[in-house]
């Protein structure tokens, strides 16, 4: 039976006692103090009062945060089948290598001759990603998937700008099943977003696409397999349609785990692709980040007269190998580059993690990972497809890839038990919920992705629990509204959390509001 730790853990501020400290800052060398004299910062710029940080001992800091970890749940605790997130096991060997001081202690502006080992690692990663995606160039600069998307959209923009057609090319097409970052990235790059619907098979509705595409189409963003876990069967036709108006195709690589070794974005006709290292290539998600979102491109001429190619537009830095000197170097941003997207090279720790993952598995193992992930999804489909209250909309009978989206719409209509209730019912037995209410085109969506890391026993357990939840929904639906009971807290008051009166985004705001409330009484 599952019972999560339930510490009444105070905030770190509430643990504060005057005079305690968690870290000894070395004394200033007396000779240095004497040589320098007084601090000369102008009085008007000196901080007058120290910040109200807590005063706690090291012991308390460790206990406090250890208890907080005990009230958290990741892949190390159990299955986290969050669809679209590819929550696979994060191999510890990669942790050891990525957090080696010979990486963590390297300054980004250090002389290239002193970081040859790291550059070689990054170079190989770049090359491997090229082969995995079937593209011509990869760039490791972006910090996450959405950052890669922004890079891709800025590339698209620059492409049209250099071709003198940006005034016309105003629109980016995204399917209605797209992840929120896709339209958000397109709009950050100054494009208008045009949505196209999916057909009942889960593919993009080609007629609708043809109707939407025209002179103003700058490009299209899709993920394949889609967020429904279905392979877009018409991808070649889609490519033709977009290329026929000189639009670029952007591949959202979040779902690469569903096809690795079977097909590649480059072969499908994509021009630009990002990869989520923190999904497909096993770097851990850290409670929200960091990740790394390399982008890869299929090269093409941008301006034949000036001999500008798409790869000239890539952001940030690329690692190149200088054969003559037998040395690795950083190159970029070059003259036509869209520029820097972050201050320095890239998110190196997740990148090295990805390197270790690919090194460990090789082409063979990567294909195996995809197979196992897809096997897990389809096995789960078999266990759940006939359970009362659930359905699997779109693409009836089609095999899923990395994930499957279940709808609890029927259950909701018939019993009032929602996808959210189902999620809480899973948490209650120590199984992390799937992604819910996404993609938007599935009502009461339960988007489930086990990845290759999950055991058959856990998948069966998961299906069993979903069945149980269904039974409860149809017999005693009010019970479902009480879940979860065995997590560290029960259901949370989101109204209070978001109400302007009670909104408390920091401790100081909370205290201010409490004081105000007190004085109003």
């Amino acid at each position: 039976m599952f019972r999560q730790a339930r510490w009444d853990e105070p905030l770190i501020f509430e643990l504060s006692r005057p005079g305690r400290r968690g870290f000894i800052v070395p004394e200033i060398d007396p000779a240095i103090k004497e040589a320098v004299g007084d601090i000369k910062i102008p009085a008007k710029l000196r901080r007058e009062k120290p910040p109200e940080l807590p005063e706690v001992s090291e012991v308390e800091v460790i206990r406090h945060y250890t208890r907080l970890t005990q009230m958290s749940y990741g892949v190390d605790n159990g299955p986290v089948p969050l669809g679209s997130c590819t929550m696979k096991y994060n191999p510890r060997v990669a942790f050891e290598i990525a957090f080696d001081p010979r990486i963590t202690m390297l300054h980004p502006l250090q002389d290239e001759r002193t970081v040859q080992g790291l550059l070689e690692i990054l170079y190989h990663l770049q090359e491997w990603l090229k082969h995995i995606t079937g593209m011509d160039y990869c760039c490791l600069h972006p910090a996450a998937g959405a950052h890669g998307e922004l890079a891709g959209m800025l590339l698209t923009r620059k492409y049209h700008e250099l071709r003198g057609q940006l005034d016309k090319k105003r629109e980016i097409i995204v399917p209605d099943s797209a992840h929120g970052t896709n339209p958000a990235s397109a709009s950050m790059a100054g494009f208008k977003v045009v949505e196209v619907p999916s057909d009942e098979n889960g593919n993009i509705d080609l007629d609708a696409l043809r109707a939407a595409v025209g002179e103003s189409t700058a490009g299209l963003m899709i993920t394949n397999p889609s967020t429904l876990g279905l392979f877009e069967e018409n991808i070649e036709e889609i490519t033709r349609i977009i290329h026929s108006v000189d639009g670029l195709l952007y591949y959202d690589g979040a779902n690469l785990n569903g096809i690795m070794g079977y097909t590649r974005p480059g072969d499908m006709g994509f021009d630009i692709a990002h990869i989520n290292i923190h999904k497909t290539f096993s770097s851990p998600h850290g409670g929200g980040g960091p990740g790394a979102g390399p982008i890869c491109i299929k090269d093409r001429v941008v301006d034949p007269d000036k001999n500008i190619w798409l790869h000239d537009l890539l952001p940030g830095y690329r690692v190149v190998y200088d054969e003559e000197k037998d040395m690795y170097r950083l190159e970029g941003p070059s003259k036509h580059s869209i520029g820097l997207l972050k201050t320095f090279f890239g998110n190196v720790i997740p990148l090295v993690w990805g390197y270790v993952y690919i090194l460990s598995l090789g082409a063979r193992g990567l294909r195996l990972a995809t197979e196992q992930a897809v096997l897990n999804t389809n096995y789960f489909v078999e266990l759940i497809k006939d359970v009362r209250g659930y359905s699997i909309p779109y693409g009836p009978g089609r095999h899923r890839k990395h994930e499957v989206v279940i709808s609890a719409e029927k259950m909701k209509d018939e019993t009032g038990v929602t996808a959210e209730d189902v999620a809480k019912g899973l948490l209650d037995v120590g199984l992390h919920a799937p992604t819910i209410y996404f993609p938007l085109i599935v009502k009461e969506a339960l988007m489930t992705e086990f990845t290759e890391s999950e055991t058959i026993e856990n998948i069966e357990e998961y299906a069993k629990r979903l069945k149980e939840i269904s039974q409860i929904a149809y017999t005693n639906p009010s019970k479902a509204k009480e879940w979860p009971l065995s997590t560290s807290v029960k259901r949370i008051d989101n109204v209070r959390a978001n109400h302007p009166k009670t909104l408390a985004p920091t401790w100081r705001i909370y205290l201010r509001k409490m004081r105000k409330a007190d004085s109003n009484v």
Partner: protein, 468 residues
């Protein structure tokens, strides 16, 4: 035999699962991929990806070791490099806490009830950072300083809709400037940059007075600036900004705030910064931590990018609880109208920073800032005693770093760089190409990790180089 990371890859399990699905071979699950774009296993196997085959952990470690050994770590002394990332000590408890699997391997806490600990840690980060900055609201992280600054200016353009001018104080970090220009490029905006007062090395208030107008959405200034100098006119510029109805955005290095007035006391509407010094390590450029803060104003809050954790209660009102708040600003709800496209952020860095700030506490942060101040000032003083070296290129006071100018020595900085490297020391960052008027100049940085011995040794080496 199954692969250790794929429990169901054992042949027995695979067979059982395939049977249940009703297919003979696993490839059948991929039959919807058109043959024209489907890859044959032989083709895939021929690609150079890893070593092709599956390796054991022992082989992987051996391979990694051979590569890592080609890196040169400067730790005795640490590199004298700064300019946006600095060698600082990472306390053991920081690395320990963020290595724990319950934090490390968790996704964004979409399911709050099972991730209260993670959310509390992020709330504590937001709250402690708010104290350090003396700002009201801090989000749970952006990618880094450069991208946080860029997003702050995009936000200013939304808040001040219709205004189309952004003014940058000319002393900002040139890498940050590049990021800002990349992010702002698609938008209808004019970016103007002030000059640098060549005596003081900071921005002059009068220049902003001249540039600012009713079309200005924001003024952005960094303090300390790229040269490590303290922007003495920062308050006056704040007033100028607000008189014109523009937002004032201040970028900071957080450890300096132990000594320097925080953005909240200088009229900042938005504060950004780099959390890298707070226990993250150098990591050759990332992951770092983009700090993003605002004062409490619903007009600003509604346009703020990034995730926010808030304090609330359970529905029954019995327990304190944490929730993701104001999600209607974010891409998964608002899509193309979102305040940013950011999704995956740098949450684990934020937790590291929380542990770091809790360890240092109220007094420690000031003591550390003083130590850094003294070390860097000692270095500037000693180095300036060398003939041909100028460390007082500018008159404004500085924190942690300063430009070292070799112009008078007739030597090139690259020669000194080689000389230092040959002696196992990594010097500063050459900036003569960015600021030609500074000539042979590099920015040197000194932190708590540089001992008096380290500094004295650097002095001796440079002296030997120039005189020997």
């Amino acid at each position: 035999m199954g692969h250790p990371w794929m429990p169901n890859s054992a042949e027995e399990t695979r067979r059982k699962m395939l049977e249940k699905i009703g297919v003979k071979k696993i490839d059948e699950l991929f039959n919807d991929i058109p043959p024209s774009i489907r890859m044959k296993p032989e083709e895939w196997g021929k690609l150079s990806i890893g070593e092709g085959r599956i390796l054991s952990e022992i082989e992987v470690k051996r391979r990694a070791e051979s590569l890592l050994s080609k890196n040169k770590v400067f730790n005795n002394p640490p590199p004298f490099l700064g300019c946006g990332a600095w060698p600082h000590y990472v306390p053991a408890p920081v690395r320990y806490i963020v290595s724990r699997g319950e934090f490390l391997t968790t996704y964004t806490p979409y399911q709050a009830e099972i991730n209260q600990g993670l959310m509390q840690a992020l709330f504590e980060y937001q709250s402690m950072m708010a104290e350090l900055l003396d700002m009201d609201i801090v989000n749970s992280s952006m990618y880094d300083w450069g991208s946080a600054a860029a997003e702050a200016l995009l936000m200013a353009l939304r808040v001040k809709r219709g205004r189309k001018k952004i003014i940058l104080c000319g002393t900002l970090n040139p890498f940050h400037e590049k990021v800002i220009r990349t992010y702002l490029a698609p938008h209808d905006v004019v970016i103007v940059k002030t000059g640098i007062d060549r005596e003081q090395g900071i921005c002059k208030a009068e220049e902003f007075e001249k540039l600012v107008d009713k079309d200005t959405a924001a003024i952005y200034i960094e303090n300390p600036n790229f040269f490590g100098l303290i922007e003495e006119n920062i308050q006056e510029i704040s007033d100028i900004s607000h008189r014109a109805g523009a937002l004032y955005v201040i970028g900071v290095e957080p450890l300096s705030l132990g000594l320097i007035k925080p953005p909240g006391q200088l009229g900042a509407d938005i504060a950004v910064g780099e959390g890298q010094p707070l226990g993250l390590g150098l990591n050759y450029g990332g992951p770092y931590l983009g700090i993003f803060a605002i004062r409490y104003d619903m007009k600003l809050l509604r346009q703020m990018p990034g995730r926010l954790i808030g304090l609330t209660t359970t529905i029954d009102g019995k327990d304190r609880a944490f929730a993701m708040i104001l999600q209607t600003r974010e891409q998964h709800i608002r899509r193309e109208k979102a305040t940013s496209n950011i999704c995956t952020n740098e949450a684990l860095s934020a937790i590291a920073a929380a542990v770091y700030l809790a360890l240092l506490g109220k007094k420690g942060i000031t003591k550390l800032a003083e130590l850094i101040y003294y070390n860097s000032h000692y270095a500037a003083k000693k180095l300036s005693e060398i003939n041909g070296v100028n460390t007082r290129v500018f008159t404004a006071d500085f924190f942690k770093e300063f430009p070292l100018r070799l112009e008078a020595s007739g030597k090139k900085y690259s020669e000194l760089h080689e000389y230092l490297l040959n002696n196992g020391v990594h010097g500063g960052y050459y900036v003569g190409n960015i600021y030609p008027w500074l000539g042979e100049t590099a920015i040197f940085s000194f932190t708590e990790l540089h001992t008096k011995n380290d500094i004295d040794r650097l002095v001796v080496l440079i002296k030997n180089f120039l005189e020997g």
